[in-house]
Amino acid sequence: MPEDIAEVYRSTYGALVRFLYRKVWDAERAEDLAQEAFARALVHRPENARGWLFVVAANMARDEARRAAREKRHLTLLKSEPEAVHGSPEEEIDADTRLRRVRAALEQLTPRDREALLLWDSGLSYDEIAAQTGLARGAVGTTLARARRRLVEAYDAGLAGGGGDQHVARG
């Protein structure tokens, strides 16, 4: 197998799983899809393996999302509340609740903002993000700035909403 894919595998597998997890919200499924993406990369041997992998992964997650559309409807979006509680330490809430809040916050972003943010968090460069999202290279910074701001705002609004669970736990 090509050395470069082995190297990309070492350096990127975890990021790809994380990227997929934030789309399909199922750890095993994310691993499955990530492995599938690498298995395909071994067959296709793309030139820019890393960028290619994230494109393939995004497509797989999109297909997956369609399938999971019904389940998704159960997640009630959190409503933004003006008085955000700043500086609430994330550590104070248990991991489950926190996860649901992050998910709800992410889902308030526009698809493009979310994609850019997740790709950046996965370690892709602005050039790679631009190539994958269709954004102009010069618009990536602005997109990320907006995505970050909205994510934090939505997340804080979720915290301000109170116990948190009642927003997302019921379908």
Binding site: F38, A39, A95, R98, Y126, A139, R149
Partner: protein, 344 residues
């Protein structure tokens, strides 16, 4: 991103937009852009303050995202992803039933071959078709599985079935060996023996034993019938005349030949090659001609009649009743049967 700084004109830069600040903090500005920005930041307190804000925003956003990460488990070796075994492991939910089905088809195949010779092609071709059962079916199965991606088994199930899989594979191999033994006997027209075949494989599974027993009991009736059961190769034109319609086949596959039944002129078979080693047979006759009317038992027409409902592998195409036979799973055969169309 940097339009403000570029279009700032005059002697000093105008304030920096947040996109540029994020690009700067992300380390994604080009060296000239970075230098220009740093010069401005050194002179502009408000932009310096905004830079600090954006930095903390980036950190917070990153921390928030960090709240949604899967528990990290080690990546499997890359070589495991490349190996065909992985594919088998991942779709065992579908693969295991297939293994069983293939085994049953093997057993049925023997019974069919020995019990209904009149509806079959000359024996010279038969062993070839049966012998390729395992690889051919595997190939088709692999294609099926692409469509069944959504059929996924949970990990624990995969692990359980992994062991089953190897067992089944063993059975398949054993079954093939048993078949070869049986065929050898047939070719030599050996006299029927009361006992089981001379060298049954040590690990022979129960159902294969049964098939062999069945084969042995069929030998007597088989002898003398082989010659008279030759299906005669006919032309397309003749087939059309016999059927009163164009013979049908699976589009995209070469029609290897068309034969008519030696005992029933209204029935023909189109043989098509699925791949270099797999032959599919499509028995067909005009739908209005009922087997019973001709005094000819339905079960002779249907390949699997001995062990399975006749209607499973038959359908009507236009004016023809078509049945399919071949060394594949019933599932696969059904799928092929659905594609049948008049031959071009």
């Amino acid at each position: 991103m940097t339009q403000d700084s570029r279009e700032g004109g005059g002697t000093s830069m105008s304030h920096v937009d947040e996109g540029t600040l994020h690009a700067y903090l992300d380390g994604e500005l080009s060296p000239p852009e970075r230098t220009a920005l740093e010069i401005h930041l050194a002179q502009c307190a408000s932009c310096g303050a905004r830079l600090a804000e954006e930095r903390s925003l980036i950190e917070r956003a990153s921390a928030v995202l960090g709240g949604a990460r899967p528990s990290e488990r080690p990546a499997p070796p890359l070589s495991e992803l490349a190996s065909p075994r992985r594919r088998g492991r991942r779709i065992l939910g579908a693969r295991l039933p297939f293994a069983w089905a293939a085994t049953v088809v093997l057993a049925l195949g023997i019974g069919y071959y020995l019990h209904a010779p009149e509806s079959r092609v000359p024996p010279a071709q038969e062993p070839q078709a049966v012998a390729t059962n395992v690889p051919a079916a595997d190939k088709l199965e692999a294609r099926d599985l692409h469509r069944r991606r959504d059929v996924r088994s949970v990990r624990s199930r995969e692990e359980v079935s992994a062991s089953h899989d190897s067992v089944s594979a063993q059975r398949l191999t054993t079954g093939t060996v048993a078949l070869q033994t049986t065929r050898a006997q047939l070719r030599e027209a050996a006299p029927m023996r009361a006992a089981a075949p001379s060298a049954p494989p040590a690990r022979s599974a129960l159902h294969v034993d049964e098939a062999i027993a069945q084969a042995d009991s069929g030998l007597a009736s088989l002898r003398g019938r082989l010659v008279s059961s030759q299906w005669i190769v006919i032309s397309r034109g003749s087939a059309r005349t016999l059927l009163g319609a164009d013979p049908v086949g699976i589009p995209g596959l070469a029609a290897r030949d068309i034969r008519r039944s030696p005992t029933d002129a209204a029935t023909i078979v189109v043989e098509q090659q699925l791949d270099s080693t797999t032959v599919i047979q499509l028995f067909q006759r005009a739908a209005t001609v009922e087997g019973a009317d001709l005094g000819y038992p339905q079960r002779r027409f249907n390949a699997q009649a001995e062990g399975a409902p006749a209607e499973r592998l038959a359908r009507y195409v236009g004016r023809l009743r078509v049945e399919i036979a071949g060394p594949l799973t019933p599932d696969s055969l059904n799928r092929l049967l659905e594609q049948v169309q008049p031959l071009p």
